[in-house]
Amino acid sequence: MKTYWTITFAVISVLFHLNLHAQTAVGSIKGVVLDENSLPAIGATVMIDKTTTGTATNEQGEFVLQSNLGSTTITVNYIGYKPYSKTIAVKEGTQSLRIKLEQDLAVLNDVVITAKSKVTSLKEEAFTVNAIDMKQLANSTMDLNQILNKTSGIKIRQQGGVGSDYNFSINGMSGKAVKFFIDGVPLEMLGKGVDMNSLPINMAQRVEIFKGVVPVHLSTDAMGGAVNIISNGTSKDYLDASYTIGSFNTHKVNLNGQLKDQKTGLIMRVNTFLNKSDNDYKMKDMKIWNTNTNAFELKDVKRFNDEYQSLFVMGEFGIEDKSWADQLFVGVSHSLFDKNIQTGADQEVVYGKLKQDGDANNYFVKYKKANLLNDKLDINFYTGYSKSLETSTDTVLRKYSWDGSYVPSATSELGGYQINKKHEDRLYSQLTTTYRIAENHKFTANYTFDYLKNTSYNTLVNKKSDITPSKMTKQILSLAYQQDFFDKRWSNIFFAKYYKVDLEKLVFNRETRLDEKVKEPYDNWGYGIASTFKITDKLGVKASYEHSYRLVEPDEIFGDGVSVTANMELKPETSNNYNLGFYYSNNFADHFVRAEVAGYIRDTKDFIYTVQNLHNSTFKYENLTNILTKGIEGEVNYQYKDLIRVMMNITYNYAYNNTKYANNSNDVVSATYKKEVPNQPWLFGNVDVSIGQNNIIQEGSRLEFHYGLQMTEWYYKNWQSYGNKRNIPTIPRQTLHNVGVSYSMQNGKYNFALDCTNIGDALAYDNFKLQKQGRAFYFKFRYALK
């Protein structure tokens, strides 16, 4: 291991040294080009007039040009923006420029095809990332999960309708291995009412999904990947309001707006949404007891305990474009949710009164300043404090049937008979600094401090004041070094992450019969590399690797001394994640084509699960399972002018059990070693087609038709290698068709959309026999003032 590091650092040092020598020059013009939102203009051309000298801006919008000394005029061109020219007196050394472009509304309609968007640029980064431009989907009635579920390598298995629990899987890894962020901040900070199911798509400018290898600015123990929602960061006034009404009494209201005083730079921003649905969709062939025949019979029934509502309000107040701050915001948010729960993981388990509700408040400060220390240093700081409460109510001694009837039961619906309250206080701070030590070489450092205090108790038995909370403090220091070569055709990012966790919990000691405080410090190193090489302007290859962790939590390691016993031997879950991908994009006259194909391997070890101690009906957490996942995914996008867009993707994901030995032995090879893991979709794909025409009926309008196909191939519920073949249950192939039409007027000011999901009313389930909704209709009106 020491040799490995020695060689790695030696190579980095040599490459760095060579490049430093190459870039020493006089008469340098160095600058950054920003769009109207003060975001980097990527791929803008910067030319010295009357010469052939020019360059393109990088992903930070930066450029460097060499020029003769004296008066020089440079011109910046960026599609969709007015050309910018400036004459400067070039002297010896380096001169800095900051250029802000103005939009050219006359050519905006062509931008989509010809400009390399942020999304495309992200896809060409070294990390394996799905980046989705939400602007194109702004009129859709779908939620974020539904949109992400249509991208390659992503499989979201949802238990029911709006607001139901879901399992988000990236390249076969799911659960706690996947982390969610909004603008780089953990989504949990906003409360349980804000998740991928409830966040309106109009709040997001784009969504980035990092697969397996996660960049350092998303600093967390995300072992399998991360989803980062980028909110609207524009610096001008806007209002985006929408209302969606649909089947099952579904209503969604969303309002986002911003006011900016251009003179002072003061900004006020509001984001809010309300979701409500009865989710009373039809369940087919459910078992209902008939007292006359003394037997169960199958009937179609409506769900009756699945109402959901959530509300979110966030206000931000800040200032922009000052010498001391590009952005400084203070904000506060409040969220609440209220949901009834119809069924668990098995649809034959029916709940009639089970419910959850909660609220959360979040207070935060954001600060951002770029180009400090002679344009070398960028700083990004966030600190937030959130306080949340979730209440789970299980107090009805009844057993419900699918027809809504019930019989008295010896136990409550979940068996716990409780009103469980979970109070969480969380302080999350992160500081990200980027230092450009030379052209084509930069360091990024991120320090994250995450403190969580959890107080959970059953109000029917305890008071909050009687409970000593469990505490977890995570500190993560991440360092990355990026180097670019050959005019940025080849980029490498080396990174390392140091995790330090302090756990503290009060645990009942059976011998002393007292609660005792136990503590456990923990630390680990993760590391990785990401590299991309543009073979041609159109074709590129990228590869990445990360050795990553998912750290243990207090309940897992300490237990509770009562029903969950401690396991101090518990290790964090670890994974070695490998990605290799190719991309190709090109324009052929009015045709644009982009194709990507990527392969991945996830070698995960020590997955943590609860297991029952057979002798005394207690549980404990153990590192039990190793899984090796291999997959390949491909996606093709085609666009013809602004008329037709086609997207097709397919994912093949093969996961097999990599737990070699049975029963914690070291010599008995398990019968299921190297066998395909059951209950995992292994082949799934999507096709999306949209056809639209501008200026129909009236000038500035657009009519668009959409068609979507989602296919999930059948898969085995159990080990396919064992049991009588005719007895192995399968989850059948599912093919869902969605159609929609949207019409927008006055250049997107007024928008109307009508969607029909699952138009064939096919029986659909993400989990074994857990039915999802059939055919449903949604109508959306959106008002966007920009």
């Binding site: 001694l397 057993k399 039961s409 297991v611 002798h615 049975a662 009588n724």
Partner: protein, 400 residues
């Protein structure tokens, strides 16, 4: 370059075509099996949470092979494996669904014969057959505030009677939950072991014992036995109680969480007695020199009882050893040295016609049924059974 695009698109289309051609497995064909079986085995495969239990069955344990690559039915989607077995049928309470089920294993498939809504107890903590068609199941309510019973007609699963046991000793200070242990039935009388616990599962230094009139369920006698703590694991997952040919019912005490520190005892009640036999006490932990006694006991007849314990000197796993002990002399009368060391799961042995049948999950790549004939004192190797698995959750006979 255009060629590349067409290749990429073609490749994706090919994926879709291939996908649409992949064939879903058919429920037709496959191994047909037999209509009726005498014996069954539940094998647990895979590491948690991908553990699947498969049932296989046979009519002859002395030869042949159970081959999971060809036969067997997964049972997890149909119920738990907390099986009460009698007269060729399996009775199972799926408590999360609130359904009581009656299964038959036929033609290599577990088939539901009858099912009814049932929610009267939280789970089956103990059970006893009153006669060959009448089953009594007992358990607590969800908050364990009372102990309840249901008497079921095993033919059609109709409920004959159900109520809470009344007249049990009320909760002493500091305790607010009941635990149910072993139950047996002699001559219109039920004998029931029960105990108390608090919210943290702390238990007193004794257990309770009730004698109940079956005809009206009045408690005729209830007393404490402070020779041991805890109650037996009497749920259908385990086999820890038995009745001898002399109509003596034996039951153990498994102290719950403190079990590593406290010895496990075997006690008994004699037919016709008012309560337990205060003169009889058998320290099983001492019998195996302090090693860990597992939750399975089998009575072979002639006062001989099989005990399974784990011997840590053989390693942390695959260390299960079997012995025979005499209930009266309380001495080991035979060690089954012929058997490979076992990695026991829950219930891997049964007795029939003076023979003791073992399903041994050994380290070797060859697992077998082993048969001990008490008449000849010989151990023979029988049927080949699945290997390299987590364990045998249940190995039992369908008929007494």
């Amino acid at each position: 370059m255009k060629l590349n695009i067409y290749k990429s698109i073609s490749l994706l289309c090919l994926f879709f075509v291939l996908g649409s051609c992949s064939k879903e497995p058919s429920s037709a064909g496959g191994y047909q099996g037999e209509e009726d079986y005498n014996y069954f085995l539940l094998s647990a495969l895979g590491s948690w949470p991908n553990t699947v239990h498969y049932m296989t069955a046979t009519n002859d344990l002395t030869q042949g092979q159970m081959d999971l690559k060809k036969e067997g039915d997964e049972i997890n989607t149909k119920g738990t494996y907390s099986y009460i077995v009698k007269n060729g049928y399996i009775y199972n309470y799926k408590n999360d669904q609130g359904i009581l089920k009656k299964f038959k294993y036929t033609n290599d498939r577990l088939v539901t014969i009858k099912e009814i809504p049932y929610t009267y107890i939280s789970e089956i903590s103990s059970f006893v057959w009153i006669d060959s068609k009448t089953l009594l199941i007992a358990g607590t309510t969800g908050n364990a505030g009372e102990i309840r019973y249901t008497i079921i007609n095993a033919e059609d699963l109709s409920i004959i009677k159900q109520d809470a046991f009344k007249g049990l000793t009320p909760f002493p200070d500091e305790y607010n939950h009941y635990m149910v242990g072993a139950i047996t039935y002699f001559d219109n009388t039920l004998y029931m072991q029960y105990g108390f616990r608090d919210d943290k599962w702390l238990i007193p230094d004794y257990y309770n014992f009730a004698t109940i009139d079956y005809s009206d369920f009045t408690v005729k006698d209830t007393r404490v036995d402070n020779r041991s703590t805890g109650v037996s694991n009497a749920s259908p997952y385990f086999h820890t109680t038995f009745t001898t040919e002399n109509n003596q019912f034996y039951y153990p005490c498994f102290p719950r969480v403190q079990s590593d520190d406290e010895d496990i005892y075997l006690f008994r009640v004699n037919q016709g007695e008012t309560s337990y036999d205060a003169d009889y006490s058998f320290n099983l932990t001492k019998l195996v020199k302090g090693k860990k006694v597992e939750t399975i006991l089998q009575y072979l007849g002639n006062n001989k009882m099989m005990v399974l314990y784990r011997d840590k000197e053989l390693g942390n796993s695959y260390n299960g050893r079997y012995i025979l002990a005499d209930l009266e002399t309380q001495q080991i009368v035979r060690e089954f040295k012929e058997l490979p060391s076992d990695e026991p799961y829950e219930w891997g042995t049964f007795v029939q016609n003076d023979k003791l049948y073992f399903a041994i999950n050994s380290k070797d790549n060859n697992n077998y049924v082993w048969i001990y004939d008490s008449k000849t004192d010989k151990v023979t190797q029988g049927m080949s059974i699945p290997t390299n698995i987590s364990g045998y959750a249940r190995f039992d006979k369908f008929y007494d």
